[in-house]
Symmetry: C2
Subunit: 434 residues, 2 copies
């Protein structure tokens, strides 16, 4: 923003500039459906992540009910603790427009009919060949003083209000609409006004727990400068490490993050599988492209979960031929030509069986490398020597096979997810070594 067309905007810019380096934000989520747990609020995490990446600190977040009283009280409390309040929810066509009325009353202004919004919604409906309802007319009512934030993904626009040097940004609760308004309208505006830089680097690990990693890194972390932080984000069988350096000298921040990241990478070694927003399946896709390897798989207890992770990667048809969900005894024999004697002697959950499943997959699909999994996901089906959670994994080609015995827990869905992660990591390492 270089122009200064109104006194109000100029005043606001001055306030923000004097606040640079410590712009505090609050998130105010509106909706009974959040409080009674009908929907999980994923908007706050998305907002927190994208605001912290540009140097805006989320100080606090609130969820309040869909009533005039709760929204205005929430706004008052949020504005007392923050410079910018991000509101989501309460703007949809099927709900009472509580958020807009509450904001108007909080600011002490009237509502007006915004013709441009009406015209835009009408164009969308005309294109779809549908008629606008009265509920959509209501979406065109705005508090006086609203600065419209275009919603490229839906009918309810975002709104920006300036009040006593602070800002209120109100957006629909539908995640992709909120994200579009933030990405296209709000974040670029804020980036132009914040001078703090945050440099991040995320290191992705698998196979070792958070506490062990923290202990391994304690010597390195004790030498961190004060502007460098590390955060651990554990999920099933994985831990992401996020380094964040905050300040104004971008070169210094970059160099510091790089230097300490290198120390961490050297220390942790092969438990690291990637960086940033990568994933095991993305790494495998890159490796298969690079090494021109064709992939197939045979899944028993994971039931297609591993294949669906691979297929989630756009363009995976270039290296992924397909696979089998060989869930039954018969399918292992008929489709994968596992020797019935192997199944009776060693059982379907055995090292011998997963090896033969790999061979059968390579033969049937004519692929270079195959993966197989067979295990007892639970909750039933365990025996004294093969309890629930016993899962055999094999990865290999015609010449060479590696196997892994995973001893997981008793929870079926967790076992399937953990087995999938271990299997993908075994596959990644195997391809890396080719």
């Amino acid at each position: 923003m270089t122009s200064c067309l109104s006194g109000k905007v100029c005043f606001y810019e001055v306030v923000l500039r004097s606040n640079k380096l410590k712009m505090l934000a609050a998130i105010l989520t509106v909706g009974d459906e959040i409080l009674i747990g009908q929907v999980v609020d994923t908007n706050s995490a998305w907002l927190g992540q994208h605001l912290s990446e540009i140097g805006v600190t989320v100080k606090k977040s609130w969820s309040v009910a869909d009533t005039h009283e709760d929204i205005t009280l929430g706004l008052k409390q949020a504005l007392a603790e923050a410079d910018i309040v991000f509101m989501t929810g309460g703007l949809g066509p099927t709900k009472d427009d509580m958020t807009k009325k509450a904001i108007a009353d909080f600011l002490g202004v009237e509502m007006f009919f915004h013709q441009d919004t009406y015209d835009r919604i009408k164009r969308i409906f005309d294109r779809m060949g549908r008629a606008m309802s009265a509920a959509h007319d209501d979406q065109c009512l705005m508090p006086v003083g609203t600065q419209i934030l275009t919603n490229s993904m839906g009918t309810a626009p975002g709104m920006l209000f300036r009040n006593e040097g602070k800002m209120i940004i109100s957006m629909p609760g539908v995640p992709y609409e909120m994200k579009a308004i933030m990405t296209e309208e709000v974040l670029p505006m804020l980036v132009a006004q914040v001078d703090t830089t945050i440099v991040h680097k995320t290191i992705l690990t698998t196979g070792v727990g958070e506490t062990t990693i923290e202990n391994e890194l304690s010597d390195i972390i004790s030498t961190f400068p004060s502007f460098l932080k590390i955060a651990y984000l554990p999920s099933l069988a994985q831990v992401r490490l996020r380094l964040s350096a905050t300040g104004t000298d971008k070169l210094l921040l970059n160099n510091t993050v790089e230097a300490f990241a290198n120390q961490i990478i050297e220390k942790l070694g092969e438990i690291i599988y990637g960086y940033g927003d990568s994933s095991l399946e993305k790494e495998i896709a890159l490796l298969c492209h690079e090494k021109k390897i064709n992939l197939g798989m045979a899944e028993s207890c994971t039931g297609g979960h591993i294949a669906s992770k691979i297929v989630s990667i756009p363009g995976s048809s270039a290296f992924f031929s397909g696979g089998f969900v060989s869930y039954s005894y018969e399918s292992k024999v008929n489709l994968l030509h596992v020797n019935p004697a192997t199944l009776t002697t060693y059982g379907a959950v055995s090292e011998e069986t997963v090896k033969e499943m790999v061979d059968g997959t390579i033969d049937a699909l004519k692929v270079d490398v195959a993966l197989s999994v067979s295990g007892i996901a639970g909750p039933d089906g365990g025996t004294p020597d093969k309890p629930v959670g016993t899962i055999w994994i094999c990865v290999g080609n015609k010449e060479n096979k590696v196997t892994y015995l995973l001893k997981a827990g008793k929870d079926r869905s967790k076992n399937i997810e953990i087995a999938s992660i271990y299997a993908l990591n075994l596959l990644r390492k195997f391809i890396l070594a080719q």
Copy 2:
């Protein structure tokens, strides 16, 4: 609670009883990782859902940073608006125990070492053959006056505090630990103290949008008594309708919910596929068991996602033989014996191909019923007459096949999920008709 062993507990019970019908709760989530969006807070939704089911209203929820100041301020604000505050987070062994110190200071009490907790943690570590660290010793420090809530899933116990007739319940942020403490300790205690009854009935629909359903039901909803509410929970290609009746006369509530549910069921007809916490895959599992049907599938663009949904159901091995992820052209020909001429004439994404995929699956797996999907999930691969989102589905047996052409959008992961839901629903209807 019928006994009264201490004046404090009795006082508290009296307060709660006088408050019955309107026990208000607040949720206070502690942790920077929530505010910066490293993790999505799913605990609040779980708490909101389970508390509202027993008649406890969640008035508001907060997320605050991991600092002493933010936690104590949050506690003060939450206790000002609610009778019970549910806190999650800040108790783990690798984090500073900010929550416990903040609660102790807020209540004006000291910390003490809780030997029973130490002994319990030591037993867990002995069993795993691991040594306790100093961080685990810290987990045994508690504010004086703590009532321990046993954590059957982890080392950090839950804690209950009584303060001026109100309650503070602090639990770990790890979801399955929090859920165990709530389910085994907190909810039974609260149920015994709340006299309000809430009767719910959830109706599951697929294939029609929220606004259309709302319009269809408007006449019925306009005749609802004031104690009956309906909520819509839309997700991809599905809408759940939840009827809730609140009051003290359980028979009246049950009858009212039943009567209006029946009107809704009659009105909405075949878009309803189940009730309560069912799912399409659970309904299919029940139908396959009942009709002794063996199932197989061949997935192209959904890449195993549908099979993994079926396998997520415990005991699915009894009716699910397995399937193919026939992702490549060759796998469709070699494994499923799709006629190469069909592929060249009509394309891999065509009604003819999905029909042959069903036949090939039935032959290869010797199953009664098979499902097949072939489509362009995107983001690339579309053509003018088969744009991204064009997905063919077929369900059938030897004699009879039904097909469906889904025209989805441009988002790969959404397309895969929507195609899976449409395919499962087509499968459900087909089996229902057998």
